[in-house]
Symmetry: C2
Subunit: 329 residues, 2 copies
């Protein structure tokens, strides 16, 4: 089996690559080749017995999607996107990368099938940003898409295209709306959502972290480990069970910032919690107010997607996967 | 006020033009210029005192949208689309006309605003085809879009783009999902939905009509007169009342084919009803089974959109507007 990962250099892409290399198989089939693509050079994974090709390419540049589809991979993970803040600040770039790039890929796959049948599994990472406030208490899979960002709009359009191309049989697509990834590894960043991870990751390594919102703020989370599990499950599920509703909100944990902090206390003690400095930021507070807080993901759960059920589990996954089990830096 | 109608040669476009010419004003402002565009030459309306330009152009051809936006109309009606059956049969043409054409228009309007502020009202005709079965009994405005046709997909994408461009202030858009137009004037056509109109229009003119489905089939209707009223209302409404939910399902009448026939009997007598020949067609029956039957359009109603409340009203509108009040051919 030949697997193509577009967006392979990103955090989720790297973790997915590691998981596939470790598993050696996907859905019971041996992985013979990996093609890893991103706008920055993806790292060549160590310890993989099959063929690996790493490609530096921009999916939205003319001809690039065609070159990738011409390799006729069996499974395609399309993770590439520019993030919400950048898509909002640069309207043209957001539409070019997030919409045109996705459409070019889908169209290139379709054109590959003209001469000789070709209908790979396509796993598309969508986002809960396809939904816009005001929300019901729990957002179910039949709630409408009214994105309040260009990024959310581009993802919602990707979902519609994925559904139509799948319905026409051009490929076998599934779109998954990932929860906010927590604990996101790496350095603190300036994304409005960064603090959800920062207030756990930094204290667990003995560093200070700033909390810009109230402890009552509620949001929707899954660990990087769960995210990779979602991708693998989406690549192997029987898509007949989806009908023509190929996009779904994945399970996650609805938790408040206060619950994050209490879980941190249970895992890292008061010493860790005392490293959180509360500095309210009205701008971030206003952005976060517009974000979804809770989902009814029973459809995805019944399809076998699994996320963490407590913040303690999410923190433990981080300590195991990123800190080698060691707390406190 | 300068008004641009794209898709002006179609049935709704012609009726909208007639209404604007008769009204002489839109939202209290005098109409000084009409620009009428379609892929076939739109007719020059009689009796209009202002400037009229008729243009034969394909919105999806490079440069055409820019030329139209450069005229800086105050109000733009975007009615142009290829219909469901054709978009399903010709995938490329459907995406080119219905998606690219719409996106080119929106983008051309945005580019017009770069040098000098420009944010016209844009009225976009969407469709109830953005929804796909299985449906709730009544589809409300928060039900999700899972189109089962490429046409519905293209309209749903148009809605998302309209919302995002409006949110960013590039124009002041409103997307309206028209019910199935009934009684559609003209000759019987082969559209799967044609019979809903045929079984009223033909007998009212003394002609036979074929009914391919059971009298229990239920669907969602508004007259051409109501459709034009929707467009005028959408062009003049205070869009602040829409928030960032710029697309809405319009009011209509949920009626069965049997109710159509009984209304025909009340207006045209047994003589008219006896001209309907029941010839069940399993293919058409299956297509129609996937169509929406009823909507909760309370949001649009509270915004002042008005449709007929009985099939008798719909038939009377046809008799008055198309038959000069005369029944029986």
């Amino acid at each position: 089996m030949h697997i193509l990962i577009i967006g392979a250099a990103g955090m989720v892409g790297r973790k997915l690559t590691d998981r596939l290399v470790k598993d050696k198989t996907l859905g019971g089939q041996e992985i013979s080749a990996l093609t890893l693509v991103d706008v920055v050079a993806p790292a060549k994974p160590a310890g993989f017995a099959g063929a690996v090709e790493t490609i530096t390419a921009d999916l939205s540049a003319p001809g690039e999607a065609e070159k990738l589809a011409a390799k006729r991979p069996d499974t395609i993970f399309h993770l590439a996107a520019i993030v919400s803040g950048e898509a909002e600040a640069d309207f043209d770039k957001g539409y070019r990368i997030n919409l045109d790039g996705t459409r070019f890929l889908f169209e290139a796959i379709r054109q590959q099938g003209v001469q000789q049948r070709y209908a790979p599994r396509v796993v598309f990472t969508s986002s809960i940003a396809v939904f816009g406030a005001p929300f019901p208490d729990k957002i179910d899979d039949e709630f409408f898409s009214t994105p309040l960002t260009s990024y959310g709009t581009q993802k919602a359009i990707g979902e519609l295209l994925l559904n139509d191309y799948s319905r026409k049989g051009f490929f076998d697509g599934i779109g998954i709306r990932l929860p906010t990834i927590c604990v996101r590894p790496g350095k603190p960043n300036k994304a409005a959502s960064g603090f959800f991870s920062n207030i756990l990751r930094e204290p667990l390594s003995g560093q200070e972290a700033v909390l810009p919102v109230s402890p009552e703020v509620r949001h929707w989370f899954a660990s990087p480990r769960a995210a990779v599990g979602f991708l693998v499950h989406a690549a192997t599920i029987d898509t007949a069970r989806l009908g023509w509703r190929r996009n779904l909100s994945l399970p996650g944990l609805s938790a408040t910032v206060g619950e994050e902090i209490e879980a941190l206390r249970r895992v890292g003690g008061d010493k860790a919690v005392n490293l959180i400095r509360h500095e309210p930021d009205a701008t971030i507070g206003k952005i976060v107010d517009g974000w979804a807080r809770d989902f009814d993901a029973s459809r995805a759960e019944s399809l076998g997607f699994k996320a963490e059920r407590s913040m303690d589990e999410i923190i433990r996954a981080h300590v195991e996967d990123e800190l080698g089990g060691k707390i406190g830096g």
